[in-house]
Assembly symmetry: C2
Homo-oligomer: 385 residues x 2
């Protein structure tokens, strides 16, 4: 096991009717900005619940944070914050709204000229950020219990991530009931996103950390059992609760302490989203199976364990078991209605492969737990997608 | 799944040579009191490592916190703290040293007449406590990542627990290498303690929280695999690291969110320790198998899952599988050298059963996840121990 340093100070308030508890956690003296996305929270009742809970607060609103939140939109919120003297940010929505809010929290306290270049590309240290919290309505990104965010820039078709302990949510309210009304596509995207998050942290090389492995596989086992249930019975509370807790635990870094991490599927998937606008979950489901095939030898021990301890195969030869695991993962995605080929989304694989190769070349990218995936390897992976 | 509210703000610094990182986490302006136990840290080099790391700090010492830390000893430390104006507590040792330090941190800021009565028995709200941190040297109690402590009072043969968010350690340093020199008995006690902690949180009734179940069982699976290794090769780093991380995760409340908890084995075991001075781990190993037999019917679903998913039994009838699981747990304890009968410790079962029945009657105790264990039931359990 590797050395590690772990702290997650976010308070999680999980369960039915928890939005009403908001006033326990935000001081009356705060000037609160509620941030949200395209308005689904107005249709599913969450907006009304928040407004009711925060009656009497000094409350402003900023709507319109889009999926794959855009820098350009975020900076409009920053302007509003500075103009109005906002002191507390409350993101209400999915991971995109929350990720945008994390960037906004940092950018609102940033003094330089170009927040995107400095925070996302140059990786400057975030010295301060506005306090933020969230009511997370979509089980997918795990952003409700971590310090990371992914934000895109329209002007340059870029989609990049940043991390800072200054943007841990002060608290996250998770009421699984608000997910009853999720469109099917978003439920499926969230399950795949969670599955891939876990794989990025688990499926590398073995460092003799059996508890971390078992916990990662535990999330996958649970997802595989709960996913068909949510498709057939979307209003079952426990199923929704279990899927949400899987999503949160899939990226709150509990399973990644002391082990290597990959994230190459995400990095390549982000480019597909940046260039072609496909959903994040879709991009992952397309890239991952081919990437695992490409990296099968170095990942064989973990893939074989996945085959045996999640999918129940008895195959004793690691490389053969690895093949079975990769096929089983893709079949699982297909079984819940997630398509896994670029052609399913009318994207030309050769064109995508070439575009992304050029971008990775320019950035001299080396991805994966051992830096083994360079621009050329990414090209080979994408060609087969 | 039940609603839950979770926050663990403690930073964990885990791995080789991490004690040297102390100055990163304690401000130079603090007046630090280093608290420890009977002096094992002087023999295993930890004391010297701490002194070296904190060179130049204003550092006082308080040694002699005993296993099952005593109120009477803790109050001596409180006197020293008040006399010297100590501002930061650093516990260096096992769970007893840390638990004592948590009580000291609260008692040092408590203004009333009798800290033990008020904090441990009357359960007053702790409004303030001195900041504390620890270098934890024994994998067992999980105290390094939770807000609880168990402290005994010599004068009244009492052993009770308290919880307060004010006594979360600011940070916990875990260097598995310091456990190489642990006496065999302490290693075994720690493994059993961890196993029982997990069972207290897992082995109740089913509330459809499969991820919590899987994670709990993951700790048990890991312990069962790692325990024989540490006995045959006590200086293997990864084995020591895996056992330590199991102990921490066994009681940092990650596995207990949204599920019922038991703790009857602990409550009865505490009395055995209070009356007869046997080790905490020993007391648990004695009580647990008989308690599980006694409560088999209400716990049958979880016991059956334990039998199948940890011990690999194929028995399909829950009650039969439950018996197999209980026997397998006791055999596991015995296999690592832990004795599980009162007679092994020259304690008369009938006498112990009667003594503890009287105490529980006086306190009108009802233990277990459904309050099903009253004084009479505890008597029946202990009689068979």
């Amino acid at each position: 096991m590797y050395n590690f340093n772990f702290c997650c100070p976010t308070r999680v308030i999980f369960g039915k009717n928890t939005i009403a508890e908001l006033p326990k956690y935000i001081d009356r003296s705060e000037k609160v900005l509620m941030l949200y996305g395209g308005g689904s929270i107005k249709r599913n009742g969450v907006y009304d619940q928040v407004k009711k809970a925060l009656e009497g607060y000094n409350l402003l609103e900023f709507g319109g944070i889009e999926p794959n939140p855009k820098y350009e939109t975020c900076m409009q919120a920053v302007d509003l914050i500075k103009r109005e003297g906002v002191t507390f940010l409350l993101a209400v929505g999915g991971g995109s709204t929350l990720d945008g809010t994390k960037f906004i929290a940092a950018a609102a306290k940033y003094e330089g000229e170009n927040a995107y270049d400095d925070i996302m590309i140059n990786g400057i240290e975030i010295k301060d950020a506005l306090p933020l919290a969230d009511i997370i309505t979509l089980p997918a990104t795990g952003s409700e219990m971590n310090n990371g965010a992914v934000v895109s820039r329209l002007a340059t078709s870029e989609k990049l991530a940043f991390h800072s302990d200054k943007v841990f949510p002060k608290f996250s309210i998770i009421d699984p009931e608000v997910t009853y009304s999720l469109p099917l596509k978003q439920t499926i995207n969230g399950i795949v996103d969670t599955f891939v998050h876990v794989m990025e942290q688990y499926c590398t090389y073995d460092v003799n950390a059996p508890l971390q492995d078992d916990w990662a596989l535990g999330i996958l086992r649970t997802l595989i059992k709960e996913a068909p249930k949510v498709l057939s019975n979307p209003n079952d509370y426990d199923t929704r609760a279990n899927i949400f807790w899987c999503a949160t635990c899939g990226l709150n870094n509990w399973i990644s302490q002391g082990v290597p991490q990959d994230w190459a599927t995400h990095m390549i998937g982000h480019e597909l989203t940046a260039f072609y606008g496909i959903d994040h979950g879709q991009s992952l489901a397309i890239v991952q199976p081919r990437l695992l095939k490409n990296q099968k030898v170095t990942k064989s021990k973990k893939l074989a364990k996945l085959a045996r301890e999640v999918f129940g195969f008895n195959e004793v030869v690691d490389l053969k078991a690895a093949d079975l695991a990769i096929d089983a993962v893709e079949k699982f995605y297909n079984s819940i209605g997630m398509k896994t080929k670029l052609s399913d989304y009318e994207i030309d694989a050769n064109e995508a492969a070439e575009k992304i190769r050029e971008r990775f070349k320019a950035r001299n990218v080396r991805l994966g737990e051992k830096g083994a995936i360079d621009a050329e390897t990414a090209y080979n992976i994408l060609k087969d997608c």
